[in-house]
């Protein structure tokens, strides 16, 4: 798999925009506050993922790890994340807190799980810094669009989430094989 393709595809599927948009689709939000909050969530997630991605090389040096070894571990976590999406799509999260900051924090726990974070870091190794940044922006852009739209019927959202989860496992296997074949 080409480095850019692997980077973009892995981020897109492991984030699972359909699954996240369904899980974070709190029903009690007014349109304007909702857009502001999800924009903040996605913006913060982009910042965190891009920063961690750009810090991949020094972090791996610090941890005495080579890029292919990290990619192998990332493939494992991406695959596990896909399995979770496929087997148990997250139920919509009820926000019991009226504070906007609390809802943003809650949203970030949906986006900044180990799978996407490791995928963002591995993306930098696959295709370089540019591929890492672009893949994060594409995945998060798709997530933001679906969060704002909130129009997918529940059964479609559930099965799409499961399908993307299965696709995530396939992508993870590809990344793992590629990492295992790397010197």
């Amino acid at each position: 798999m080409n480095g850019w393709v692997a980077a973009v595809l892995s981020l897109l599927v492991v984030v699972n925009p359909v699954g996240v948009s369904r899980a974070v689709a709190w029903p009690d939000r007014t349109a304007s506050s909702w857009r502001r909050e999800v924009s903040t969530i996605v913006g913060a997630a982009i910042l965190a993922l891009v920063t961690l991605g750009l810090l991949t090389a020094p972090l791996l040096d610090l941890a005495d790890l080579t890029t292919p070894t990290f990619r192998l571990a990332a493939a494992l976590l991406i695959g596990l994340t896909g399995a979770v999406w496929m087997i148990a799509p997250t139920s919509p999260v009820e926000s019991l807190d009226d504070h906007s900051s609390a809802r943003v924090t809650l949203g970030l726990t949906m986006l900044l799980t180990p799978g996407p974070v490791f995928a963002a870091m591995a993306a930098n190794g696959d295709g370089g810094a540019a591929a890492g940044v672009v893949s994060v922006i594409i995945a998060m852009g798709a997530t933001l669009a679906l969060l704002v739209a909130r129009r997918l019927p529940e059964p479609v959202a559930i099965w799409a989430t499961r399908f993307i989860g299965a696709l995530t496992i396939v992508v993870a296997v590809g990344i793992g094989i590629n990492a295992a074949r790397t010197v």
Binding site: L65, D97, A180, V183
Partner: protein
């Protein structure tokens, strides 16, 4: 909300701790220098020659638990390989090992069978001769010739070469045995190891005598190894990490290798890359269990040989050039780890200089690691000529 955040923190904690103890355990690569690599090579070669018997044979193995050798029978192929490795060291400038290597060679040549037109090496006049023994004997003789300029064995080399080519089938695969009784190859038996050993030998013969046609059978066997060999031998994962294939590819680097040969080489390089990386994460504790079992020293030594030859290919062929630095890093990492495993300072000649895994060393552990360390030292000298 707090429950979800706590769950998120727990998931992250378990992920980071679990990964660090297993797949993300630190890759520990002890530093290597020209001096440390050279000293380790000398100690390994000394283990071989200090334990050499009067008839030229080497000590086959040593078990620390019983303070003695095992009951495993002596192996001619490994004898030939060890002799070849000593000649590699002589070729690298360590002429003091020539006499011991020649003693090993004389013992081998005492086991000759054949009619002179074709020569093989067998454990007895009516015993089956292994292709691998003849191939590694031929490789050793070429190295000896390169190191000394002595041409006294040229006729023998050619007859060994004719024997090797006589074992080749039309698809490039190699029959592993030859019967002195039948004076013919034994049909139907191949070997995972011998095919690559044979290819390396005839590739060297072509580079020694470029007009004699040794390249034709070499191409045929390389084609077979790069395409069908692993499937025929039913090995998994593929390609089989065959350091003899790596030696052969490096020897044929200037012949005009095809793209699919380079693809094969790239897959081979990947096998050794992950082998060294995986081994470098095996440092005791849970990571030791996850990355168990440890390969025997001979196996780990072959990784060094394979990586070194892939690096040689990378330097010679720009299609492979992107791997040069990574291959160099893995070679140094693997060498550093082997040096750390080498026994020194015990005062026992059966122990000092040996590479022990689970308390056991075998002569090919020293052979393969010595070869790998020779190439590591060469790399380090390239990087720092001072």
């Amino acid at each position: 909300m707090s429950k979800r955040v706590v769950t998120w923190v727990i998931i992250w904690g378990l992920t980071l701790v679990g990964a660090r103890l297993t797949v993300l355990a630190p890759e520990v690569c002890p530093a290597v220098t020209v001096a440390s690599t050279h000293d380790a090579s000398i100690a390994a070669a000394d283990w071989i020659i200090n334990n050499q018997k009067l008839d030229g044979r080497y000590l086959y193995d040593w078990d620390l638990d019983i303070a003695g050798p095992s009951s495993a029978p002596y192996n001619l192929v490994r004898h030939a390989g060890t002799t070849m490795s000593l000649y590699q060291f002589v070729l690298a400038g360590e002429e003091q090992y020539l006499a011991a290597a020649d003693e090993g060679l004389v013992w081998l040549l005492d086991q000759q069978v054949g009619d002179g037109n074709v020569t093989a090496i067998a454990p007895g006049p009516t015993s089956r001769a292994k292709l691998g023994t003849a191939a590694l004997t031929a490789v050793g003789l070429v190295h000896r010739r390169q190191a000394t300029g002595d041409t006294q064995y040229d006729d023998l080399l050619r007859s060994l070469g004719r024997f090797i080519v006589g074992q080749q089938r039309s698809n490039g695969s190699m029959l592993s045995f030859w019967s002195p009784v039948e004076e013919a190859p034994v049909a139907g038996e191949t070997s995972l190891f011998a095919t690559g050993e044979a290819l390396w030998a005839i590739a060297l013969l072509h580079n020694t005598w470029p007009t004699e046609g040794w390249d034709d059978p070499a191409w045929t066997t390389l084609e077979y190894m790069a395409t069908d060999r692993d499937e025929d031998e039913d090995v998994w994962p593929r390609p089989w990490a065959d350091q003899w294939a790596a030696y052969s590819l490096a020897e044929m680097a200037e012949w005009g290798l095809a793209d699919h040969h380079m693809d094969y080489a790239r897959l081979l390089a990947g096998q050794w890359g992950i082998a060294v990386r995986w081994e470098s994460q095996r440092n005791g504790g849970i990571d030791g269990l996850v990355h168990a079992p440890e390969s025997i020293a001979a196996g780990q030594g072959t990784w060094l040989e394979g990586i070194a030859m892939m690096r040689k290919l990378a330097l010679a062929d720009e299609r492979f050039g992107d791997l040069t630095n990574d291959l160099g890093d893995r070679l140094q990492c693997g060498a550093g780890r082997m040096i750390a495993k080498q026994q020194t300072g015990t005062g026992a000649i059966e122990v000092d200089g040996g590479f022990f895994v689970d308390g056991v060393t075998r002569v090919d552990g020293q052979q393969h690691t010595l070869s790998g360390l020779i190439f590591t030292e060469r790399l380090l000298r390239e990087e720092d000529p001072s």
